[in-house]
Symmetry: D2
Subunit: 363 residues, 4 copies
């Protein structure tokens, strides 16, 4: 992900030609050697084997955190305390309590923040929101979404124990659940309550050192969702869904139409609106094109398709603009990261207590 960010900074410059130029100043890694090699490869000016140096460095305006989740809080806090802006990968923190602390600290320090929910930057996602906000599908009452992948299906894959340590977050609930929750919030608004069920499918995995390891984090999670708007629905996430590689998608139903998409085809949206001519009605397959936000910056012709890295470039462009513009801020910020984390925590609590959990019951 560090590499993806480095690519995105360059791409954002090449594609969007922002007035403010970003310098990739210092790269931190676990050792000076690793950092030095990575800096050379990714085009950073300097490198360090101690991430704490970033916070102390007067040349640095913003710290970009792409480490595992369990390290986010300490690193983000150090940057905030030093008055740096912070750009942090999702999910923001292992718990909503920790996420909230960062929100308060960042707001107190007056620094700007961003969390890397890159799929919200897809022109198709933005199109979906436009369709909803414009009322084209009427009043939204239903949402069903999921994020299915299969990268954790093989029980013999060697895994890093930290990744399955509940203190790092609840497995797929944090890793993919955060994406589908951020999408649900982006399209349908705040979630009010959840009734959820976590499922550890593979109770034993093989640690990186070859030893067997008991696992208790979720491999799958399903949750009913009650939205503040009165809409209802459900979400699911799985990292053991054989054959699914990037199946983040949803269906949003309103009184005048339905929209649906699945990001294994990230350039397509399915749209149905009532009132089409009799015998000619059906879902329309809308291909991403220059009529949609940000697409034309990449290629002037419709249907020519954006890729994953392009979404990240849009995200970095939003970051840079948000950091440099007066009175503006990047989004999704830490507060949004906390909101997503609250839903995750409510899901875990709902599963634990075997009942509904209101979001405002957790931190």
């Amino acid at each position: 992900m560090g590499r993806a960010h480095a690519i995105a900074y360059r791409a954002a410059r090449a594609i969007f030609d922002p007035s403010t130029q970003v310098t990739l100043e210092v790269l931190a890694d676990a050792t000076p050697e690793l950092a030095s090699t990575a800096a050379a490869s990714l085009g950073f000016v300097r490198s360090t084997g101690d991430w704490r140096n970033l916070a102390a460095d007067p040349q640095i305006d913003m710290v970009d955190i792409t480490t595992p989740t369990r390290l986010h809080v300490e690193m983000a806090r150090a940057a905030i305390v030093a008055g740096k802006h912070v750009y942090c990968e999702k999910p923001l923190a292992p718990t909503a309590t920790e996420a909230w602390a960062l929100v308060e600290e960042a707001e107190a320090a007056g620094v700007k923040t961003m969390v890397g929910f890159n799929y919200l930057k897809n022109p198709i996602t933005v199109l979906a929101r436009e369709i909803i906000e414009s009322g084209e599908i009427g009043e939204v009452f239903g949402f069903h979404g999921q994020h299915f992948e299969d990268y954790m299906l093989d029980p013999n894959t060697l895994v890093s124990p930290w990744r399955f340590d509940p203190r790092s977050g609840d497995g797929v609930t944090a890793d993919l659940g955060s994406h589908i929750i951020s999408l649900a919030r982006f399209l349908v608004g705040p979630v009010e309550a959840v009734s959820a069920r976590r499922h550890t499918v593979l109770g034993e995995r093989v640690a990186a050192d070859g030893t067997a390891m008991r696992v208790e984090v979720a491999d799958e999670v399903s949750s009913l969702l009650r939205f503040a708007s009165g809409a209802e629905g459900a979400m699911a996430a799985s990292w053991v869904a054989a054959g699914r590689k990037m199946a983040l998608g949803c269906e949003v139903r309103g009184t005048k139409g339905t929209l649906a998409f699945d990001f294994e085809r990230i350039n397509e949206l399915q749209l149905y609106t009532v009132g089409q001519p009799v015998g000619r009605d059906g879902f329309t397959t809308v291909l991403a094109g220059p009529a949609h936000q940000d697409y034309a910056s990449f290629v002037p012709a419709p249907g020519h398709q954006l890729g994953f890295n392009d979404l990240k470039a849009i995200e970095v462009r939003d970051l840079i603009e948000g950091l440099t513009a007066d009175g503006q801020a990047p989004w999704p910020d830490f507060r949004e990261g906390w909101e997503v984390q609250r839903v995750i925590d409510a899901i875990i609590e709902s599963d634990r207590s075997n009942g509904w959990c209101r979001i405002d019951q957790v931190a």
Copy 2:
């Protein structure tokens, strides 16, 4: 649906050439005139304006009930008491308690029964079960299914009040929910507990007489599902899903693969199994063909497609064979109809009590 059954009896004979021939003996309808007209059109020998005559008629071996759900129980009971076999459309009864009474009575009377869950007869459904039973996708741990249609979306459509009377069943939960629940049970086995949420989207509709009518039955329902096998998942149903016409489908995930289908394409199954060659793996689109159960009776070539009425013909063939064979019985029988109804009742109870409901907590 009466007409669909009449077509199915003829089709079953033309296609399967069963040794036992069915005579469409007496057709009952609300008045003698309606019955007479329908009998002539559908090819029945006689007709009656009083359904009670069917039970009393010594020429009749089986009573076929295609009335609205609220009338099923009384009619089925009369037939059972008279020693007739009974073939009843789904859902069997408005409540599990009523369904169970029918089960006990039918078993006591020694008559055979069947409920019209026609989608279980689709060769693609049977293929899905074969794949699961054979272990081709390993141990099944996840199920997500839905049945979305949109025939109740327009609030200005005139509706029969009985259809929205909770005593007839809970709206979409009964009408479409019963299909997805029967499918879940067919593929993954008994459901043990549910956490559900019903949603009345359109609280006011227009009755057939043009007057406004308050509605409290569900337009949408979502439920977490805990299976006896340890599998987990969720189901959803909607009859207000704009643009969805026959979107009954599911995804079943196992330790070695995933299968998925959506009956807006009722001749296709998507199958992914682990162990495919690197760089060549993906979901395979299996088209229904002669290698699949019952397909070859319709057409000898693959990919030439069965339609909805063909599923009903298979169902009627199963009915006839089940009635006439020694030691056999048609399936799904009333007991299965009751099992499905228990899940429906548990969903309603879960929604009412705002918590999980075990299936064995309801009748």
Copy 3:
């Protein structure tokens, strides 16, 4: 195919309830024994081991021919001479010359005729024609169509030598080419000229007796098409297209839109028209439903899907109505069968002469 017709007669009665009832009077097969067995199974009153008896039988109004193509001409002629109407499977005859002779004889005898191009009866095909005729896609200028299947791909399958005898017709050109040509004519009108290329992929096959057999008929054929209307395009057919089971489809382009379909999904049409709102445009997936011709006779709800046998039932309904109505006739008739055959013959001639061939250059 004989069985498919027998099923279709029953289905047409059950579904369309025509005023004129058809009696399946006499079934002819190669021997009295075969005929007797088939008659019992398919519900015919009588049977005969000599097809010539059909023409002589005063009880018979119409002869239905489902034999291999090479036998069509002799059988159809005998029926025509005896004053019977004739319903013949496609293609009508091995050559346009022979087809034309039948047309002249039938018209002289005043008997009615029909050729079984069943895919023209699909409600989706009729919808496509309605869209074109209404001008919804503007002036049509382009057509590309194909019919790909794979039932002749395996070189080790035992085959009947007659099927690969050029006197029976040119392999795939006759068998599947006739379908795509009839579709092209139905949607875009008369073909004026072709430039074609036949391709014998498997020059050696195994005859039914296990001996090797040289093959010269086409396994694949591609042809440019020049339509009388000024539209241009191409067609292709293959019976060695691995994995294709029923891939008969086309794309029709006009000045205001495009329509496309593929009958591996026989209930779907893709439609694009210009003038859709910016950023919301795309192809619409139209599912067959009650708004489309004949669909509602099968099932009242949209999206519930027709199958191959349903198309054949529509065809038989058209046949019966055409035979019995005053001043009407079934369609496609022998004249249309001849028109299709002329295009086939022109394709063969174009391939032979290595150049364009006008349709009016062949019989």
Copy 4:
């Protein structure tokens, strides 16, 4: 396209980290002002209002030509004469004769060349070729391909007259036909002969100055293709295909399987091979992933999708490696550009002469 190249140089560096760094040294445009603005925006060191300065500039190793086709020859020649390597957009030249002259001059001068057939760089295209070369689909005998877009459908769009001047190339035959021909050659090998039909659908367009303009170049073209290998098939191209945005695709049939793709979904390939288990066979949807060439350089996870600009980045990486490596050369080079142009010229000649045209009959 100039902008796309500029983005690609940066992306290639960020993603592939090549040992040789490219400097964007001088940008030429029609006027000094335009050039200066573009250079600043795209990150070039210097700029010029006269492209001839590039050839004369000793700082420059390679000239990159993204002008309209009619200017390619003069510009490429000047660069070659000056001993510069040349990277030129497709198609290489308006005619094969002109293309061949460039090939001879470049080879005589010892400079390296490349033509921008970017779709050949898609990992899915490379996968298709690997599948064919490995024999996975047996001996290839059939190819049908097309490239359909709709950017020239609206007759009221103001157009540049040069684009419709036959001396610039034959409309869609050159613009999109070149893509599908290059793809056909890449996958199935040299084309030996064609029988083609060009079609000017809109004979009158509106020039940029608002005046009516007669048009004679092709809006659509269809051609039979005879390959040197013995394979047969056809291609089509249209820039007036309503609703098609990037429909470049093909189906390749072999004795053991079929592969197919359509670049409106540029990350997917459909693959069918014989020998799959009975009742489980079908086309597999292969999603681009790290197992496929170059994909992993962009993103480590499968299914996360590349976009159009990523293909261009791969192309530029190939260019840089080809220019700098000993004994290697970029591909597709001018010779390949000429080969594609020969097929285009043969198509035009075939249409003119109304008959087959062998490729070796044209320059």
